[in-house]
Symmetry: C2
Subunit: 453 residues, 2 copies
């Protein structure tokens, strides 16, 4: 057995001449869908990876919860153990791949690996969105890689382009469809006129949504990913609980149809943007997750089914979008494998990707955010209603971009799209509207993004 | 002045402790739109790059054609010279950035830099599409980086994700909108019903198309980029002259309107796919550039104006798409800068990206390619015409998926969409149709991609 200490088996100086490959042994924590797919991909691509990088990557040990469970992943039974920490601490393990998910015990395992100077690959968004600050700092202090391409948007190469291709690029805004379940539900509602409940049930049948869909439909999953994106894009720690969250359960097929007539798709998106300069000179950021009207001509509007996409507005590079599978064993394993090759090559070269040690970000409160809004009000159908409603918008300085009446009599609704306004002013307007006897219901309040007005 | 020889100024072992940055000096060949933008970006981002990578990058010398020309790029006059080779050979220059374009003298300059062990960054697609084989081999032999993110799809991170994130990923097919000019023209024709000539004139006014638009509208530009993508994706050299090319000048606004009614957009695309195994065990590839009908539900269909996008179908990762600005000074400079940081860090670490040394690809002849087709025939409007036309399809085994008649009398046309058929069989069918007295014109023959039928 060969340990791949940085100085013992370097990349040959002349890659043209065949030389024994450097060997790197990984410890796999967890061997479910993603871990199994990773083991298969590693086996299939071993020779290609070795030819392109000069590094041979093998799985040295695997920690699982139930050792008796049969696994068809082509790994010998002697590699498996239930003692997770022993895998991390095994001196013959060079790199740790953490796929067990959740905050505990993942946090201790990752921290211990970094402390031992071992690079870590993880797809654990919950861990990073809560304890990222400490872990990034630990990786930085140890000078080893902590890579997490799989934590956001599954198989889509995003973290590497952000970190490497766009190094130093000032980013105005990132808008992402980063939860496949909600995008699937909204696509079905849009394309088939299905109700929210019907579309959710369909997503559950197909395995896109959990039996308890809260984490997806209430935006918890997207908030964790948005926090990670914000941290990497703006170089300052944003935690999941600092992300403003609104779910999609209030959206109806009718809202989607009205939006389409007005030239918009309704999508569940994350918006991560620079809101200003913080007092310490760092960026002040705004991070939120909510349904939104997106113009049909915007690239995000045509992201269908369970696909993910991240749209980025950069200073020099202009608009970029990355699109692909945000979940699933094989796409996620593909992202893990890309990180693994990177970490293995870096380890052999005694270098690392150096995320940097971040300060906490200044996060702007949601009340101070600016957005345009789509509002749908159920009103009494009588003369003078529009004037009384419009007066409330005027009182709080919310300017109306377009208005139309839908339906008559008891079913009458007024649909407004506002110009860009401050959240607090819109909330004040809504409170005032709810007080009016002629407004029987404020049905939908959805932000409009992607066409600055 | 500091030379950044790999062993003289290494990255500090503990990046947590401030240490003097390694310095890397670049020689810039060419200082036009992209070179000027690069100089500005380097200046703006110097401190961020240094903080994130520990490397300080500065412009050491600049070769230009006309030294008297005024340039507002913030570089001292003493850095400029007209002697291009002297910049390459200057012992104080660590990395060469080639932005002069064209094959000669770029080829000699790049080759000389590699021979001297200096990494090269280039955006020169013409050079790589013709002489890539020799240059990749030279870089490989010297163990230095030859990076060219900017050569394909401008600012879109594509080469790095292909090379690093997707290392070893078997790719079934890549479809790309990789020429912004033709996408702009087709978007105007589609959205405004403009004629080809009107849309071209508009593109020329806006500076999206050259006075002589041949390189764009006849597909030469896209063919060079497609050759480079094919080489990187399949690990075997494809040259520009091996790419089958068809231009967009024959497409009418009417074709676009008919296609839209049938559920398709017409886009100028590059298709790069694995066609089989070559005799030597390497891949047999098919590479072509032509207008195509793309289903309106396909992500490529909504790529508008002068944007580029590359859609990739991978074995494990699934469908991916990369979207952004394919041209322009700043997006291109952004791609060059990403490569430059990579090469600078690698140089300091004494490593390189190792493209690999490629054999020539086996390229399948266009006559043997498979595709579905959209055909528009002008016919005499009389009974029995369809039977006689359909008979010709049958003779050559081309199966019809849908047919509709458009117009009456002298303006009558038959629109066919075929099932997937061999190119040679379609060409034989067309030749036979042209012989029929009832067919007055075979107006449009456009491949259909993206919905396998």
């Amino acid at each position: 057995m060969t340990t791949a200490a940085p100085d013992s088996t370097p990349i040959p100086a002349d890659p043209g001449s065949p030389a024994p490959a450097a060997r790197v042994r990984i410890g796999l924590l967890g061997c479910g869908t993603v871990g199994g797919a990773l083991a298969r991909l590693l086996e299939e691509r071993r020779s290609t990876i070795e030819a392109r990088t000069g590094v041979e990557i093998s799985i040295g040990r695997v920690a699982v919860r139930d050792i008796a469970k049969s696994r068809d992943v082509g790994l010998g039974a002697e590699l498996f153990t239930t003692d997770t920490m022993s895998v991390v601490e095994d001196p013959e393990i060079d790199i740790v791949v953490e796929l067990i998910g959740g905050v505990d015990p993942a946090r201790d395992l990752v921290a211990r690996a970094l402390e031992l100077g071992k690079p870590v690959i993880t797809g654990n968004k919950a861990l990073l969105a809560v304890h990222g600050a400490g872990l990034y700092a630990a990786a930085d202090a140890a000078g080893v890689d902590l890579l997490f391409e799989a934590a956001v948007a599954g198989g889509i190469p995003l973290m590497r382009p952000l970190r490497e291709s766009l190094v130093g690029e000032p980013v105005t805004r990132v808008m992402g469809i980063i939860n496949g379940t909600t995008n699937y539900i909204l696509t079905r509602m849009s394309e088939e006129g299905a109700s929210y409940d019907e579309a959710l049930a369909e997503a559950q049948e197909l395995g896109y949504a959990e039996e308890d869909p809260t984490a997806d439909v209430e935006g918890h999953d997207a908030a964790a990913k948005a926090a990670i994106i914000a941290t990497i894009v703006y170089g300052a720690i944003v935690q999941a609980d600092e992300v403003h969250r609104e779910g999609i359960a209030g959206i109806t097929a009718d809202d989607i149809a009205v939006a389409a007539r007005l030239g918009y798709a309704i999508k569940a998106i994350a918006v991560i943007e620079k809101a200003g300069e913080g007092a310490d000179g760092g960026p002040e950021v705004a991070v939120r997750v909510h349904p939104a009207l997106v113009p049909l001509t915007h690239p995000l509007a045509s992201v269908r089914d369970s696909f993910n996409a991240i749209f980025l507005e950069g200073d020099a590079v202009g608009d970029l979008m990355f699109y692909g599978r945000g979940a699933g064993g094989e796409p996620t394993a593909s992202a893990i494998l890309g990180d693994l090759v990177d970490a293995a090559v870096n380890r052999v070269n005694a270098s690392s990707a150096r995320i940097g040690s971040f300060a906490r970000a200044v996060v702007r409160p949601v009340a101070d955010l600016l957005s345009a809004y789509y509002l749908s009000l159920a009103v009494v159908d009588q003369p003078g209603v529009l004037a009384r409603v419009a007066e409330q918008f005027g009182r709080f300085g919310v300017s109306i971009r377009s208005m139309e009446q839908q339906g008559l009599g008891d079913g009458a609704r007024l649909i407004f799209i506002t110009h860009t306004s401050r959240e607090s002013a819109v909330q004040d307007t809504l409170a005032a509207l709810r007080e009016l006897d002629i407004v029987s219901d404020v049905h939908a309040v959805v932000r409009v993004v992607g066409d600055e007005i």
